[in-house]
Amino acid sequence: MGFNGQFFLKIIEWTDNMIVKEWCMYCGECAGVCPRNLIEVREISLNFNEKNCKECEICIQVCPVKALEKRDD
């Protein structure tokens, strides 16, 4: 795998760090505290713009039902 392949893999890692558990209720509290406005709350999904995430993890901290998790690897 050449340089491009590694780079590609890296991007996949970066954009797949946040895990939204199935019991998420899309209340949007995480979006309200995200200092970089990176979370889009839809009616029944959450979208993270992880490219610009600085991993402050405030979103994980405030969730009323612990439905957010960061993949640790």
Binding site: M25, C27, G32, V41, E43, C63, P64, V65
Partner: protein, 393 residues
């Protein structure tokens, strides 16, 4: 491209009220909401003051009032209760307990009847400026839309993104955002079913727990916590509260609600060119009680009126919209500052202090006691009240 004078994003009570008043003033208005059902799921305890509805010119309807509450019962950690009734003390959020799912829809219907065009299941995905106007991109049932508006009113709740797209700092620090969880329950056995109940103490760190009666044995049972001072989630705290409270331990849930409540006070900068922020998105929530229905609607009305006037004048600049900030400050800001102080004091109290205060006041006749006497009594038990609340009275 769809064109309109005013685009309101978010059809909660604040957004619908903004849309209604902008339409009444003659502007063309679009009101959009990302949800398929306006008002659902609810995210709050559903209490409003009668006075607030009157101020807004809204006639209570049996369709959305579940019951009247004539008083407030405040309970300390050891169960000591202090009862206040509305004829004795003016109480925010005491009056009616709503059915928000119905209420929110009716407020949106009023906006529609006033002339606003309503779009449900429509999510704003971005915003850009064009020819001194704003173009909002949106998605609705798989379709990409562009809506060009002279003014956008951001009423998109505590998770507000719209204001931030416009450069306003609507994001909240965790210490200013209560993390809330609530069950609607049946089989609740309240001691005073005519009172809304507040429970204070370490079972709800940084906030309080509530029981709001909705008629018969039904009640909203919930709490708010600050996640900066507890390791448990709001939901975990709620489970413990429900289990330990005599009124709820035999009750059964039929609905779970969660959400954030912005309790840090009014957002300072609420306008910029072409954009006004209102409701929860602008921190229009009583910082002490967390109640934001009436205050959000008050703010929404101002936003709608100011925006409509700006359309008439053909000036959508920040300067022209600035009056909105002054009006909000006048209408809400002053009282919020007092409530913030009261909250700081309340949250500084230990369980023992809360019990002592409740004990001292449980038999007070609030009809005859005046404010000065009350403060004197409070300071005797809790000297720091003088420092924390001094300027309030």
């Amino acid at each position: 491209m769809i064109e309109t004078d005013i685009l309101v994003i978010g059809a909660g009570p604040a957004g619908s009220t903004a849309a209604k008043h902008a339409a009444i003033e003659g502007a063309s208005v679009i009101l959009m909401d990302k949800k398929s059902e306006i008002g659902s799921p609810k995210r709050c305890a559903e209490g409003v003051s009668k006075e607030g509805l009157t101020k807004l010119g809204i006639e209570p309807s049996t369709r959305w009032v579940t019951r009247e509450a004539s008083g407030v019962r405040m309970v300390s950690p050891n169960g000591t209760a202090v009862n206040l009734t509305e004829d004795k003390v003016k109480l925010p959020e005491a009056g009616y307990i709503l059915e928000r799912k119905v209420f929110d829809k009716h407020m949106a219907m009023d906006a529609g009847r006033a002339g606003a065009k309503i779009m449900v299941k429509t999510l704003a995905t971005g915003m850009r400026r064009e020819d001194e106007q704003v173009v909002v991109t949106a998605e609705s049932m798989g379709q990409e839309l562009e809506i060009k508006a002279k003014i956008v009113i951001a009423a998109d709740g505590p998770e507000s993104r719209v204001g931030r797209w416009a450069g306003l700092r609507t994001s909240l620090k965790p210490k200013d955002m209560e993390s809330c969880a609530q069950f609607e329950m049946a089989g609740v056995q309240m001691e005073e079913p005519d009172c809304i109940e507040f429970h204070f103490g370490s079972m709800s760190p940084g906030g309080y727990a509530w029981i709001f009666p909705k008629g018969d044995d039904i009640a909203n049972v919930g709490l708010g916590v600050l996640t900066t001072i507890t390791d448990k989630t709001a939901y975990q705290h709620l489970l413990e509260f429900v289990k330990s409270n005599p009124a709820t331990k035999n009750a059964q849930p039929v609905e779970l609600n969660i959400g954030g409540d912005p309790v840090g006070g009014l957002l300072k900068k609420k306008v910029t060119d072409n954009v006004l922020v209102t409701g929860d998105a602008a921190g229009m929530v009583n910082p002490l009680t967390g109640g934001g229905i009436i205050s959000g609607m008050m703010g929404g009305r101002l936003a709608g009126q100011v925006a409509a006037e700006a359309v008439v004048n053909g000036d959508y600049s920040k300067k022209s919209l600035k009056i909105y900030e002054d009006l909000c400050e006048e209408e809400l800001g002053e009282s919020f500052k007092k409530y913030l102080k009261a909250k700081d004091y309340l949250l500084s109290l230990s369980d023992e202090e809360l019990d002592k205060i409740a004990e001292a006041f449980r038999d007070s006749d609030f009809e005859t006691i005046n404010t000065a006497e009350m403060v004197k009594k409070l300071v005797k038990i809790s000297p720091k009240a003088l420092l924390k609340l001094g300027k309030l009275f």
